[in-house]
């Protein structure tokens, strides 16, 4: 081989080597780049993992991850700390071996079976070993299913949040609310007394005027009209006083077996006497299966019927009035409906009629229907009102029969 040939060959080798080296460098660079990328991703994953871990362990919510047989896979620090254990104490152990409870086992199994989460708020939960029966705790707790790629339930996440303080505060709040209502009733009483003084003056003034006329006529003229007026007005006054007293001290009913139809008749008679209305027609529609005997407080219920019927009579002005009383028994509940064709109530007033002191009458304490609702509530019953202006009013009462 010639020198020059050799040289050429060497040069071409050299070139190839250079090329290879170049490629190698390139590969190396790529490799480095990829490695960097992987490292970066790894770092990212690690960061995300750490983040999740931090969230998992730094929450005040107790979290446990169980497999579908309820063996602990992982718990968070809060969960472990609650029972003063370390995390590893739980891992691998079965939930119901640690905390046996038939009821919860049923719920847990249901979640695995249906794949639907179970969530409750502020409920008693017998959690942990240090639960004393006297010191019950309340929890917002949930059990969420974890599903695998085939959407089959693979495990469950149990989260628990101790809301005992909140629930107890709520209970206290409710007690305070109750007391407030009580004290409002007392302050209502003050107003009540003023209303009595005011309202009694009206019937009393009529009595006094009637007495003047009796005095004037004494001797020969017939005085029965005045005597009747006096009786009427005394009863009107009595009605106001008794409404006030009833409202002031509505107490727990004393249940007695009572014939409600007799009570109704008595109330109708009273209303007729007070309003002297010969023109108002009373219809009674009693269904065949109506059970007229019911355990109620007869005095309180009389009050209710009086107030409703007096309202009906009062609402019927000059034209021919009709009051229809429906009575029936449905599913062990007594249903009474009193329908009148009186002046009715404005739609905007309808929601206020059960509030104490609400009235659109020029005379009246505005207590009649408040008393009714209070008494009916104490009988575990219902009262509702429906009315159309210038058409009439319907009052419906439902009373449960008691054993």
């Amino acid at each position: 081989m010639k020198q020059s040939e050799k040289k050429l060959k060497n040069e071409s080798y050299q070139k190839q080597i250079n090329k290879l080296k170049e490629t190698e460098n390139k590969l190396e660079a790529n490799h480095k780049k990829l490695r960097n990328q992987i490292n970066g991703k790894n770092k990212e994953i690690k960061q995300k993992n750490n983040l999740l871990k931090r969230i998992f362990s730094n929450t005040h919510i107790l979290i446990a991850y169980l497999d579908k047989y309820f063996n602990f896979i992982q718990v968070n620090k809060t969960y472990a700390n609650y029972n003063k254990e370390i995390i590893d104490y739980y891992v691998g152990k079965n939930y119901f071996k640690l905390f046996p409870d038939k009821e919860y086992e049923k719920i847990f199994k249901q979640v695995v079976k249906t794949g639907k989460p179970y969530i409750v708020f502020g409920e008693k939960f017998n959690y942990g070993k240090n639960v004393k029966k006297t010191d019950c705790t309340y929890w917002d707790w949930s059990l969420h299913p974890v599903k695998d790629r085939n959407k089959a339930v693979d495990g469950v996440i149990l989260t628990l949040l101790d809301v005992t303080k909140r629930v107890k505060a709520q209970k206290e709040l409710e007690e305070i609310k109750e007391q407030l209502i009580q004290s409002k009733r007392l302050s209502d009483l003050g107003l009540l007394a003023a209303a009595v003084a005011h309202e009694l003056r009206n019937p009393l003034s009529v009595i006094r005027a009637a007495l003047y006329n009796i005095e004037r006529k004494k001797g020969n003229a017939p005085i029965h009209t005045q005597l009747h007026t006096i009786e009427k007005k005394i009863m009107e006054g009595d009605q106001i006083i008794s409404n006030l007293l009833t409202y002031a001290k509505i107490k727990l009913p004393e249940f007695k077996r009572t014939d409600i139809l007799t009570l109704l008749d008595e109330s109708v008679e009273l209303a007729k006497l007070i309003f002297q209305s010969e023109t108002i027609q009373i219809n009674k529609l009693i269904s065949d299966d109506f059970k007229k005997f019911i355990k109620i407080d007869p005095f309180q219920m009389k009050k209710v019927l009086n107030n409703i019927l007096l309202n009906s009579f009062q609402s019927i002005k000059k034209r021919k009035g009709i009051i229809t009383i429906h009575a029936k028994t449905v599913n062990n509940v007594m249903k009474l409906t009193i329908v009148d064709n009186g002046t009715g109530i404005k739609k905007t007033d309808l929601s206020k009629v059960f509030e104490p002191f609400f009235t659109r009458k020029s005379r009246g304490t505005g207590l009649g229907l408040s008393i009714c609702i209070e008494i009916i509530k104490l009988h575990n019953g219902n009262i509702s009102i429906d009315s159309k202006l210038s058409k009439g009013t319907t009052i419906s009462i439902e009373l449960p029969y008691r054993e």
Binding site: H198, N202, S205, V206, R208, Y212, N213, T229, R363
Partner: protein, 127 residues
């Protein structure tokens, strides 16, 4: 000359008693059971005395007092009322009641229920 009296009062029983007593004293008595009717009657006829309850339906007694004063009606108004606030409550509700108090000042006299009918009649006799 017989005095003509209009009674505006929503309590029919009160109206009847007043009617009977005043008629016995030979007064001519007209009755109105609400403010609207009262107003219509006042516009049509002349009365020496108007006996006016304050708490009456449709237009209340204050409205009637205002109406009488604005229309320059010469009748003497005797207010009859069971309202206690005429005495003290107006002090509490000053703003609202001042207007009403001014209206009440236009009345010839005020009788608080239950008043003695003889006192009212004496008032009418001397008016």
């Amino acid at each position: 000359m017989t005095k003509k009296i209009l009674v505006i009062e929503d309590d029919m029983d009160m109206c009847n008693e007043l009617n009977e007593a005043l008629s016995a004293w030979n007064y001519q008595v007209q009755l109105a059971f609400d403010g609207l009717t009262g107003k219509k009657i006042i516009e049509k006829n002349k009365y020496d005395i108007i006996i006016l309850d304050l708490k009456i339906p449709k237009y209340d007694g204050y409205h009637i007092l205002d109406f009488i004063s604005k229309k320059n009606i010469k009748s003497k108004v005797i207010v009859i009322t069971a309202r206690m606030e005429i005495h003290y409550e107006d002090i509490i509700k000053q703003n609202q009641e001042k207007e009403k108090n001014d209206l009440l000042k236009k009345a010839h006299s005020i009788f608080i229920k239950p008043f003695k009918l003889m006192d009212l009649i004496n008032k009418i006799r001397t008016s």
